[in-house]
Structures are given as C-alpha cells and as structure tokens.
Symmetry: C2
C-alpha cells in the first residue's frame, strides 16, 4: 500500500508516480510484471482513475513502465539500460510476438498512419544524397517562411490542384500543423474560435494552449452549421470543409458561400481551413478550397500537411496567410528560424519540381482507391447489414452495424479479435449523445491489401452476435 497525502502541495498523481518510480528503481516491482489495473489502483488508493492514469503515463514517458494496448501498463523490461552511465549495452533483441503476454492488435485501422511501402524511398533518397554532397550551403540558416523555391513549388501545386490563390510570399512552411496553428493563434490573441464537433481534439488543444478561447459547434449533414456558428459568437472558425474529420462530409457549395458571407460580414472574422487529406478523393476531382473562393486577400487561412501525401514522420506542413495578416506575421516572427530542416525542404522542392510529387500522388490515389474498394467489398460480404459512409474520399470511412449492442461493444470485441479501431463517439468533444449509434471509424491507409480478407474475417467473428 502506497501512502498518499492530500494535504501536501505536491499533486496526488505526482506522489503516486514518485512512489511507484521508487519501487521500480529499487527493484520491488519486477521488470515485465503488470502494474495494477487503473480502476483497481484507484480504488486501493482512494483516488480517481484519472490520477492513476496520469501517474502511469508519467512512468511510461520516463521509460519506467510500458503501456500495452488493451492490456494496461507493465514494468519496463529493459529498465536500467537508459539510466546507466557505463558504456551502452548492445541493443536488446525485440521480444518475439508469440512470447508477449498481452494480446497485441494484429491489424491497425486507426487513422494517421500511412502505407510505408508506397513511399518513394528511391527517388527521395537519391535527391537527399545529392543535396548533402552538392549543396553545403543548405547547412546554413534559411528563410523564416521556408526556402523561396520550395514556396514557389507549393504555390504552383496548391493553385493547380486545390484552387488556392496565392503568391509564394503568402506561404509559410512549418514542422507540422500544430506548430503553424500556434503561430496563427498568436495573430488572433483574445479571439474566440469555433471548432467542429465532432472533430480534431488536437486543434482545440493547440489553440487553447495558445490562449484562444474555443467553443464547439455541432455539424449537420452538410458540415459546420452557419446558424450555430453565428450563435456561438466566435470570430474565428476552424473547419475541414473538403472532407470533414472524421465523418467524411464534403461541404456543399451553398454552405461554403454562407460561411464566406459570415466571414465577410464583420472585419476581423477569419476562417481557418484545414485541407488535411483532400489529395485523396476517388470519385470526382476534389472541390476547390474555400481559400480559392475567397481569393488571395479573402479572410481565410489555408492549412495543409504533407503527412498524408508523403509521411507523418517527415514533418512538413504549410499554411497560406491572407495579405491582411502577412505584415504582422512577418514582423512578429522575424527572429524565428524556420522549423523544417533545409535538406528536407530542398528534397521536397526537387521532388515537386521534377514532377515526382504529382506522379507519386497519382500512384497513391490509385493504390488507396483499389484498397478502399477491396476492403469495402470484403466488409459488405462478411458483415451482412453493414453500412459504409464516406468511402469516396480520404483514407478512412464510417462503418455502422445497426444491430450492434453498442459502439463500445463493437470496439472491444474487435480489439479482442486483433483489430484496433476507434468509435465515432470518441471524436465528440462534447454532446456525444448526438453521435450516430453503433458506428466506428475504419482507416485503411496502413492496411496491407493481403490482410484485407483476414481483417474482414476477424470482424465477422468479433461481431457475429451483431449481424
């Protein structure tokens, strides 16, 4: 029994963390053994599950414990390796999957991964190598907004493929949407932003951290509701109009026009348009973005990322600032170095200039389309009565089983059959009662084509009671 003292200034989760860390360091808890379940520990110690969870997360981040999906936390097996100052031992061989105690998901249908087999490693690597040997000036600091030639390539691409209206001078390259959203937030200090519900909780975290008040606005069948936006009193609006995350709704033209009218109605109103995965639309050519409808001087900040089109591990995103924000941005960020390595900026620049990027996108679109069709067909065959929504764009769709017991039951039985996916209600930051019942989000970007029959079979077995 660990003794916690609520009268101390140190929070309970830190006390619990410190006590467990001591036990692990002393060897009182053997490497590889499980920590008590969160609810058990919470009941034992008379604290909330959240307190236990925070303490466990701290142990994990410290390298003292290891989370195992659907199974809880275990004392780190390799503990000791990182904490010694003696010469580093040889890397430990990975634990073979068959020996691991906990059921590890075999198939991952979460969003946010990519199929690494589609990455153009050969051409990317060749360009990268040439730049390293031939352009030593790239070791020096570059331009604050990103290298001018890369911004030129991006401007041309966004204009041709996404209907963005901008000059290279309006583009800011950065190491991820979170970083760029943080910069945008600075420009809007004191404002309130409306965020789609359901939607990206990440956006709320970033804008909230940066001092912007966030208010959640429900979506309807056409996406963010302009009436609800008006009622929210917000002067900023963050949205994903091309392919709403996670429902997949594409905002129709009339709703877009209403949104732009809302923004034009009062000075200081702005739309933050996140065009995160619009490269992947399989039925028709993607709709042009809101930024293009509004024009280069319109009240729209356009954001997009290369995480889907290249890889999430290569941290390149960009935004297009309207002229009205540009001078202030440049003044306030003049002292900042760009956050993307110049070698990666220039590798992307050459990759785009040489035509590799658009060919790579065309290849990926084809591969993902085929995978989506195969996967959807396999699911429809294996799961009689299943409803699939939002299949024509993006890299995930919604899967509804009308006769399921509950969304939670769907997620849990799938996990116990080796398939990891999230329920739609998990994306609701408020009012989860509005969520369509018995619906999960199925991402297929990291799913191997050969695995599709096995995934469909696993889900059919998991959900046999719901069919």
């Amino acid at each position: 029994m660990i003794e916690l003292d609520p009268s101390l200034k140190t929070p309970l989760y830190e006390q619990l963390y410190a006590a467990l860390a001591d036990e692990i360091r002393r060897g009182d808890r053997a490497p590889g053994t499980p920590l008590p379940g969160r609810r058990t520990m919470a009941a034992q110690q008379g604290v909330s599950v959240n307190t236990v969870d925070t303490a466990y997360q701290m142990l994990a981040a410290e390298g003292l414990a290891e989370p195992r999906p659907r199974s809880g936390f275990y004392v780190q097996k390799t503990y000791g390796m990182l904490h010694t100052r003696t010469p580093r031992p040889a890397p430990q061989p990975a634990v073979p999957a068959a020996l691991a105690e906990a059921p590890v998901p075999l198939f991952d249908l979460s969003t946010g991964s990519v199929d690494t087999a589609l990455f153009p490693a050969r051409s990317w690597g060749r360009i990268q190598k040439e730049l390293l040997y031939q352009r030593p000036e790239l070791l020096q600091r570059g331009e604050m907004q990103g290298d001018a030639d890369l911004r030129g390539e991006i401007a041309q691409y966004l204009s041709e493929y996404r209907g963005v209206e901008c000059t290279p001078g309006q583009i800011v390259v950065g190491a991820g949407i979170e970083y760029l959203l943080g910069c945008v937030a600075h420009l809007f200090g004191g404002n309130t932003v409306a965020i789609e519900n359901p939607g990206y909780s990440r956006t709320r975290a970033v804008l909230g951290n940066s001092g912007i008040a966030c208010t959640l606005v429900d979506i309807d069948r056409d996406g963010l509701s302009v009436a609800a936006l008006e009622a929210s009193g917000a002067s900023l609006c963050y949205l994903t109009p091309s392919h709403h995350f996670p429902t997949g709704v594409t905002m129709p033209a009339t709703r877009r026009a209403q949104l732009l009218a809302w923004a034009a109605e009062q000075p200081g109103r702005y739309i933050l348009e996140d065009d995160y995965d619009s490269e992947f639309r399989f039925d028709t050519r993607p709709l042009p973005c809101l930024q293009g409808m509004a024009g280069a001087d319109g009240p729209v900040v356009y954001l997009t990322t290369f995480s889907k089109s290249l890889a999430p591990g290569i941290r390149i995103a960009c935004m297009v600032l309207p002229q009205s924000l540009l001078a202030r941005y440049r003044r306030d960020f003049a002292a900042y170095a760009n956050t993307v390595s110049r070698f990666e900026q220039q590798t992307l620049c050459e990759f785009m200039a040489g035509g590799y990027f658009t060919r790579h996108l065309a290849r990926m679109r084809l591969a993902y389309k085929r995978r989506m069709e195969t996967f959807a067909a396999a699911l429809r065959a294996a799961l009689p009565g299943v409803e699939l929504d939002g299949v024509h764009s993006g890299l995930h769709f919604l899967l509804t089983l009308p006769r399921a017991e509950s969304e939670t039951a769907m997620v849990q039985t799938a996990a116990s059959h080796g398939v990891r996916l999230r329920g739609l209600s998990e994306y609701y930051m408020t009012r989860p009662e509005l969520c369509r019942p018995n619906t999960v989000v199925a991402g297929y970007s990291a799913l191997k084509e050969d695995d599709i029959p096995a995934v469909a079979a696993a889900l059919a077995a998991a959900w046999c009671a719901f069919l």
Copy 2:
C-alpha cells in the same frame, strides 16, 4: 509619385507596398534596377523610414524585390518565374559576382553561421541512407518528446559533457530553440521574465509573442546581476551563463550560487538556462551548467541546440524540463507531434551512439581553436592597439579599437572594405549608452583559414585612421 492616404484603414506601409508591387508587376520598374533609398523614399512620401522599410521587406518576402547587403533593395531580376502557371523554365544561372552592381561583403564575420567544410557529410549521409532503406517505420509518427533512444543518447551526452542531471524522460527534442521557448512560455503564462541586456533579442521576441512580459536586466562583469534581477520583480530569468551572448562573459561560481538561491527563495521562480555554444571552450574544461548545480528537480529549464555542433540548417535543439514542470507539459502537449523529422532524429541518434558526435566535436574544437588563434594573432599584428575579449570560448570575440571614431564608423568602413560585422551596441535592447565604446562582435566560425590574412588586411585598411 505614389499617392498614400493616411485616412484609410489600410496602414501606410501596406499602401506603399501595394503601389510598388503594382508598378513592379506592370513592368514600370525594370527588373534589376534599384528602388529609391529608404530615407529618400520616406522624404518623398512624407512617411517614416520604418514605414518604407516595412514595405520594402514585404516586397522582398513576396519575391518582388531583393535586398542587397549595404546597398538597398532592387527589383527582382527573376520576377515572373514564380508567378506563372505555365511549366517552370529551367533554373536561371546564378549572376556571376563580377557582374553584380552592388558591393557584396566578401568576408562574413557575423555570428550564427558555421564552417560547412567541417560538417561530417560522409558519415551523416551514410547513416541517413541506411535509415531510409532499412527502417520504413520511421515514416510513421514518433513520440511527442522525441524518439526515446535519441533522448537516451542526449541525456548521456549532456550528463558527461555538461554536467546536466536528468533522465531521458525529462528531455524534449524540438525544431529549434524558438519552438522550445514557445512551449516553455506556455507553462509560464502570466509571469514576467528577466532577460540579459545586452543579449538575444530573439528570446525577447519569442517570449513576448507567447504572452510573457519581458523586462531587461543589465549585466556586469560577472554576467547577469542578481541585485538587478531582484529589483526587476521577475519570477523567471533567461540567461546564458556558460558564455554570455554576445560579450563572452562566463558567470563565476559565486554568482551562479546566488542565482540558484534567488530561484529557491520563492516557489514558482525558474531559471531558463541557454547553453547555446558551450561545446566550444578552448582553455579549460567547460564549467558544468546551472541545471546540474540545481539537480534534476531544481528550478532550472536547460536549453541547448545542435545548430553550432552540427549545422543551423538541420533544425534540432532540446530542453531538459525539471520534474515540477513535466506532468503539466505532457498533459498540455499530448496532442502535438514532435517537430523534428524522425529520419533526422535517428540519424543524430546513430551518430551519437556510434561515437561520431564526440569525435566530430573534438575535431571542430581543434579546428576552431586553431582558427581563433590564427585570427587573433593576425588581428593583433595588423591592428596595433586592438583589444580582443572573450577569445577562450564560443565562436566569436569582442574587438575594441580604443582610438576609433565610433562603433558605427568601424562597422561602416569595414563593410566598405568587404567585411561584414555588427557593432556591440546592436545587441543592446535598451540603454545602449552602457555599451563599451568602439567595439564590434567578430565571429570566425564561417571564416576560412586561408582568408584570415586578407580579412586582417582589409580591416587594417578600413580602420587605418583609427590605429
């Protein structure tokens, strides 16, 4: 004559920018021709020099004009290339230096560059290539604080070489000090930070942008004065104790102890220690950092960068958070992806684990020490009466000519003889009258050894009246 209308809501600099941009786009101002000098334009238009400068900077960022050092702004020669949607023309050959109209500095003594010839391109490139082909999992998203094995290597390095006391779990890897300072600022919202004067104006910009009130505190011969810090009322203190930027002062042990006592006196007081270039100390082993004196749980956030030890174009920096800030940091930034590409994280990790990094540092230290000694000797020979300060550490020193007319005269005559350097007073954010007179900051990190006699000769010619 351009017509500006002060009664409009559009700021004057934007009006001026827009009018000039139109003229350039219409071809009324021929590519390659100079724009009027800033003072001339300001007088013509009846606006401030600052207004003109902002408009010119906007044109430059737009790619419409091009700044040339010590010469002003010119209409962009290659304008048009970036603004067409027709296929991209072949890249324009660079303008040979002999044809350029303006005197371009031949020798750059500014700080912040590195000698690209010292970069270990071969081993770096080999590791990078292996990772790209052999570890496709690096394409996926990594850990929020940075990859655990890289953090392990950094913790070990900082412990052995800088006396930092921390576990890998306390380390946060990020794409540059500015990004990391922005994260730190979030943790200290509502506080006031004391910043060294003279010092890094960048720090003031970043912390100010992030909502932290900044107050400037004068340094004395031992660095930041604790009495002045007390008097400032600040609860945070940003400083460069190992090698004050730009004066080169190393803070002695007693002053360090006083600073830690200041921090310990009240809860919520923290020191932000920027150890930006302490790898380069030539006389004695570097002093251990403040963070190590305070211990892993002490009130110090330690920041350092790989910009000097590797290259500024590769964006890797890191910070060490004390336990007291870690839980809050992890909670508030849980949704953020790390800002450094995983390939570059892992290249650095292998580079450190394989022993390349410490060997590379030893080689650089030797090369820079030799360069410093050669340069200092050449300057002492060429400039009778010159005083050099802060030669024993870092990659720059102070150069004083007691009999010079003024600092400005030193900077301008050097520039007209092809040597770019900055005056010490330029680093004073307030009270420049405290600045030691007739002193410039001479960085030698990007100076080729073969160029040293020519630089010394150019400065002797530039400053002959001051000797």
